[in-house]
């Protein structure tokens, strides 16, 4: 995985990559000069202590970062070999192809479970088509059996874990290529977490997953590739090391990675 990339064209197994990407809030640089390639249909875990910029990096990948009023970026994010920050690129089109699941479940409170599942495209669908899309997405999110009888109810009646799977279904229904997950289990109990982790493994057959987590056990359990980030003295997040998960957790090449995974800080 490591240094095999040729500079001009990313290797075929790469669907998304950053090139010297920096992200700012006003004048504060939150992410500094990150270059990383995400392997197709694999789960890449972004790990590191809080404040290391991993969430900001993730939010740069589908142009959600720019919702902060003073947000800026420099560098490139290559998706299918095109820079998503290229002038004239429609962020909405990018976001439809690079879905996102958030730290806290955020179903749309006024829409039914069904309408939540098809929220990405449901504008002109008739009821039948809606149901088809929803069933496919909800099945992919392992939620169908639990909600098939209450599709018109409010999502707020679901448990936290179910809500999060609904959010995953909502993202899956848009048929993206990449799914970004920002600590998807941070607000869930252990049982719901196990369900989501299992789900992530099955989703990786179809999608490219990038997941932020500060739970190292989780990263070790679910990811194929792990990337370790750390903030430097000016609180700018740097990419320290990226490698196959098994290797990063057993034989890290950087001493700071080793310190972190053995619990010496963070």
């Amino acid at each position: 995985m490591t240094a095999s990339a040729t500079p001009a064209i990313a290797p075929p197994e790469t669907v998304l990559a950053t090139d010297d990407l920096s992200a700012y809030y006003g004048t504060h640089q939150a992410v500094g000069n990150v270059s990383i390639a995400f392997r197709r249909q694999a789960i890449t875990a972004l790990i590191g202590p809080s404040g290391c910029g991993k969430t900001t990096l993730l939010r740069c990948l589908n142009r959600i970062h720019e919702l902060a009023f003073d947000a800026c970026v420099s560098g490139r994010v290559l998706f299918d070999n095109a820079d998503i920050y290229e002038w004239g690129t429609d962020p909405m089109a990018i976001r439809r192809r690079i879905g996102m699941v958030f730290q806290r479940p955020n179903p749309f409170p006024t829409l039914s479970i069904l309408d939540n599942a098809v929220a990405a495209g449901g504008r002109r669908l008739n009821r039948r088509a809606k149901l088809e899309v929803a069933e496919r997405a909800l099945r992919a999110a392992a939620l169908w059996d639990e909600v098939k009888d209450k599709l018109s109810r409010s999502p707020l009646q679901l448990s936290g874990g179910q809500q999060q799977r609904l959010c995953i279904a909502r993202a899956v229904a848009a048929e993206p290529d990449v799914l970004l997950m920002d600590e998807p289990t941070a607000s869930l109990d252990p049982i719901a977490t196990a369900v989501i982790e299992e789900l992530m493994a099955s989703l990786a057959n179809q999608f490219t997953l990038v997941a932020v987590t500060h739970n190292m056990q989780q990263a070790a359990r679910v990811s194929d590739v792990a990337a370790f980030m750390l903030a430097d003295e000016s609180r700018t997040g740097r990419l320290i090391e990226v490698d196959d998960t098994a290797k990063l957790f057993t034989k890290p090449s950087d001493r700071r990675t080793e310190d972190y995974i053995t619990g010496r800080f963070g």
Partner: protein, 313 residues
Amino acid sequence: MDEPAFRRIARFVSPVDRGFAAVVYGGSALFAVLIVGLFIELVLGSWPSLRAFGPSFIWKSAWDPVASKFGALPMIYGTVVTSFIAILLASFVGIMAAVFLADFAPRWIAAPLSFLIELLAAVPSVVYGLWGLFVLAPLVRTTIGPVLQHLLGWTPLFAGPIYGVGLLTAGIILALMIVPTVTAISRDVIAAIPRDLREASMALGSTKWETATRVVLPAARVGIFGACVLGLGRALGETIAVTMVIGNRPEISASLFAPSYTLASVIANEFTEATSAVYISALIELGLILFVVSIVVNAVARLMIWSVRGSRA
């Protein structure tokens, strides 16, 4: 150090969102135009009067439409006196009621009582006026007035004939109308005083009453004062109820029993009867004075309330 190449992010790229932003900006701009237009129109409408009478409009006391002589002093006097009576009566009752609601009452009393008092604020002005005209004014003429005159008749404030309608009656009606404002905002301000301040006082062995009067109220005083000023602002501009009970006479009289006029009530009473352009203009200028005064009063009040409560009033 080399400066990073910042890339500004274009927030609205899709045509839909450009249109959306344009409509949103347009609506907000229209809103702003309306408010600025309000001020400009009042100035333009008062222009003939401003030119004819100049600043002396404010301190001249003649109000004689037949002779086209206009001075605002009687109305300013009536407005100030009625509002002063109102705030005097309403601030004490309102603040004490707020202390009760915030610090003494158990929840099951405080919630419905607050609701009742807030409903008082929703009662239409014309209903207060009706009640004032048929219930309060006779009461002032037959009971309240004579009692006050008996006790305090030696001062010019309570001398002279008692008509029922007049400054005092208008002041009492206004007090009723602004008590809910004073109470509701004071209660919010008092409730925003940190608990540990109260607990510190109670821990020193103070009673609840001592805590309320010596610790909580002083800490909240700026905000409570702001609440009273906001109530004052409402009283200054209140129109219909006052028009119905003040007697509508453009005279300055020391007695609180005497009929008078306020800025708002003279506009309400005479505007549709005004015939000459300068008469209408003089009435609009009264409205302009009212507008400017109420803006100043409201701005002061809100600044005070924000300073304590730390959010928008």
